[in-house]
């Protein structure tokens, strides 16, 4: 019983964080390329595709390795998801300076490819996670129970993102917050895992501190990325 009580929020938070990472990326794409509606639809499409791909690949994990694999994926997810918008904006600046001057026809497609690749990576990781989460919860939940929690998390993530995170924390604060949430879920998952896996706790503590620092410097980050990277050098 206590397992289910602790495991359920972990599943919800992971699903919510995944969709928040993707929506953050979609908003970044909209800022870089325009067409908000299209960017959101496309990013969600890529996310769903990557989820499918990830869950397909995830099949053969043997039982004893499942917890270790889950925690590894958590670390990767927190890292890639949080840093994706920063990476996208930096990389776009590079493309703008190096590609746009030389060949403007390539600029748009390259930025699209960049965003798609990031969305694919995040989606792939969360896709590998889902069947793992289903199997770790097997026998402790009713049939369809973990799946329901996963959908609930996605719903909460979407609503949270649009109604609270993006308007009040902004894009970079949102990325940092999702990083914090993922690291917390990872830390809790560590406590559920067999004792050999608990050494990973320090990694998640590290992630928590990192996310906290990013959130603390939210304003400076927004100023730096919004003004000096995003706008500077626009006209070479």
């Amino acid at each position: 019983m206590w397992f289910a009580l602790i495991y359920a929020p972990v599943v919800v938070v992971i699903a919510a964080a995944c969709i928040v990472y993707e929506l953050t990326l979609a908003q970044t794409a909209a800022a870089l390329l325009g067409g908000t509606w299209f960017q959101y639809a496309l990013t969600i499409g890529i996310y769903l595709f990557a989820l499918g791909l990830g869950s397909l690949v995830s099949v053969p994990t043997p039982r004893p390795a499942q917890w270790r694999r889950l925690l590894q994926l958590e670390v990767a997810l927190a890292f890639c998801g949080t840093l994706a918008p920063f990476a996208a904006i930096y990389a776009e600046r590079g493309l703008r300076i190096w590609v746009l001057a030389a060949d403007s026809a390539m600029y748009g497609p390259l930025v699209y490819a960049l965003i798609a690749a990031l969305a694919l990576i995040i989606g792939f990781i969360s896709g590998m996670e889902l069947p793992l989460l289903l199997r770790l919860g097997e026998g402790r939940f009713r049939e369809g129970g973990v799946l329901a929690l996963d959908y609930l998390g996605t719903l909460l993530g979407t609503a949270f993102f649009l109604l609270w995170l993006l308007p009040s924390l902004g894009l970079f604060g949102t990325a940092a917050f999702a990083g914090l949430a993922t690291a917390s879920a990872g830390a809790v998952a560590c406590l559920l895992a067999p004792s050999t896996e608990r050494r990973k706790l320090f990694l998640f503590t590290f992630g928590l501190v990192g996310g906290g620092v990013l959130l603390w410097y939210n304003r400076e980050l927004t100023e730096h990325f919004g003004r000096f990277i995003y706008l500077a050098g626009a006209n070479p």
Binding site: A31, G34, L51, G52, R96, L162, L166, L171, L231, A234
Partner: protein
């Protein structure tokens, strides 16, 4: 096991497609596009979760029967979803909107909320039965098939997203829902043939409903358009039944679905039309002249000289260009950036527009660029004497970008030292006795703070047919006496300028309200129509 994969694919594709069609239908009726997407997808996904869990409780020996039932329900809900929303829209408009006890703004807000929430019933049903299908399919696939089935389930969702993104701009909600239902009926027929070869009654009923609705589709769509633009106080004079019937008889409203928006031409008198984009009036025979004359000429009077190089952002209808061209050769070059290729083409070739803009877009001084205004100012190098922005009001995140601090910074950079920016502000009028209580206060402050943060220290709202904004980087006095630059102004130049001062500026510093691409401020103008 393998025959389950295409079923899983189609089942999830149809579920998502049906729910996106609800989003599309609602999106054209409720001004807050974000709320539409969030609530509909939210209810759909909540339904998925609950459905997935509930299906776990069904009897194991009835799995295939329940699956067939779930798919039939999906089909039926998808088929009736848009019609349900159209009917609700009419009922809410007829009975609630302008109810005597409500102020107009409250009536719009409560009508929209009521429509948004009552339209979630089909979204929830779709979610419930899609989620149930997935659990039942997972049960049939056993543990080994979990990964593969989940994979095709997500692939189906991807296919639905892509189909929706590419078709939504070409088809109306009813056409799109017919498409989704045909796919879904294919699935029902297959399941029926495979698992229940002797019970075809409900499937036959579904087919019949589909054919009936398809035949009626055009009429339903037109009826809905008529209810959208119906004159309510007139409609109230006749009985409810007469109103419903009358909507089938009225002069036809023409709707064009462009790649970016819905353009409606609503008959006005026997010969004229009012032109709407996404339900917001753009060109109305009555106020068309004064709007564009205020926007173009008043700022030139304020600045005291005729600009040589001009940038027009939006304004693909060519009416701003027409006013600019009145200055003759003193204007050297105008760059006009318009997103919608349909708009450019129509403004050049369609009689309705060319009569109004006098063929302005064919003038050699007007350089029409098809593209996104934001990207244009971000990636270009020229400097302008004047920049006019003629955008739709910021009803969505997408449009909010064009009112963001980043955008205004780029615009400020594209201006020459003594250049100016002028635009239709979307500022709502403030009640001067008590501005903080006014409806548009937050958005008003957001816009002014955003402009100032972007380096416009001179921000002046001015009055025309509505509120406009004149902004420039350095504060200077504005021209107060009408200078005749040798142009003719239909609504009277002196009058136009004098009227422009009939508003007062009110400003408090609120850095928290600055609207940024990276932190959108949600205090956008709300639609005042329903």
């Amino acid at each position: 096991m393998n025959f389950l994969l295409p079923i899983g694919f189609l089942s999830s594709a149809c579920g998502l497609l049906h729910s996106q069609i609800l989003v599309q239908t609602l999106g054209s009726l409720v001004s807050d596009a974000i709320a539409v997407q969030v609530w509909t997808m939210g209810f759909y996904m909540a339904g998925l979760g609950i459905g997935a869990a509930l299906a776990g409780l069904t009897a194991k020996d009835r799995t295939t029967k329940t699956l067939l039932l779930a798919e039939k329900t999906l089909c039926f809900t998808g088929l009736l979803g848009p019609v349900w929303i159209y009917a609700l829209y009419f009922l809410i408009k007829y009975f609630l909107h302008e109810a005597d006890s409500l102020t107009p703004a409250d009536a719009v807000a409560s009508s929209q909320t009521l429509l948004l929430l009552s339209s979630q019933i089909p979204a929830l049903i779709l979610g419930l039965f899609s989620g149930a299908s997935l659990t039942l399919l997972l049960r049939l696939a056993k543990t080994e098939g979990t990964g593969r089935l989940l994979a095709v389930n997500y692939l189906g969702a991807l296919a639905a997203t892509l189909a929706f993104v590419s078709l939504a701009q070409r088809l109306s909600p009813l056409q799109l829902s017919a498409f989704a239902v045909v796919l879904n009926l294919g699935l029902v027929a297959y399941l029926n043939w495979r698992f229940e070869p002797r019970a075809w009654n409900t499937s036959a009923l579904l087919f019949a409903t589909l054919f009936g609705l398809s035949a009626m589709g055009g009429h339903i769509e037109q009826w809905h358009l008529q209810s959208r633009y119906m004159n309510l106080s007139e409609a109230r004079k006749s009985s409810f039944k007469d109103t419903v019937v009358d909507l089938f008889m009225r002069p036809k409203i023409l709707r064009v679905q462009t790649p970016f928006q819905r353009a409606d031409f609503v008959p006005y008198g026997p010969l004229d039309y009012i032109f709407f984009l996404d339900g917001h009036p753009q060109l109305h025979p009555r106020w068309i002249t004064r709007y564009h004359e205020s926007l173009v000429h008043v700022p030139i009077q304020y600045a005291g000289r005729v600009p040589k190089r001009i940038l027009v952002l939006g304004g693909g209808d060519g009416l701003v260009a027409r006013e600019i061209l009145k200055y003759g050769d003193r204007v050297e070059k105008v760059d006009l950036v318009e997103l919608d290729p349909w708009m450019i083409e129509a403004a050049r070739a369609n009689r309705y527009f060319t009569k109004l803009n006098q063929g302005s877009l064919k003038d050699p001084r007007i350089n029409v660029v098809r593209g996104d205004a934001f990207q244009f100012v971000r990636l270009q190098n020229a400097r302008y004497d004047a920049i006019y922005a003629d955008f739709p009001l910021p009803f969505s995140y997408d449009l909010l970008k064009l009112y963001s601090v980043e955008f205004y910074r780029l615009v400020a950079r594209a201006l020459k030292e003594d250049g100016f920016l002028a635009f239709d502000s979307a500022m709502l009028f403030l009640n001067s006795a008590n501005p903080e209580e006014s409806e548009g206060f937050l958005w008003n402050m957001a816009l002014q703070n955003t402009l100032r943060a972007a380096g416009f220290s001179d921000v002046r709202p001015f009055m025309g047919s509505e509120l406009f904004v004149f902004a420039r980087p350095t504060a200077k006095d504005v021209g107060r006496i009408w200078q005749d630059h040798g142009i003719e102004v239909l609504s009277g130049g002196k009058d136009l300028l004098e009227r422009s001062f009939r508003t007062e500026s009110y400003f408090t510093e609120r850095p928290d309200l600055i609207n940024s691409v990276f932190k959108p401020s949600l205090h956008a103008a709300r639609s005042l129509e329903f």
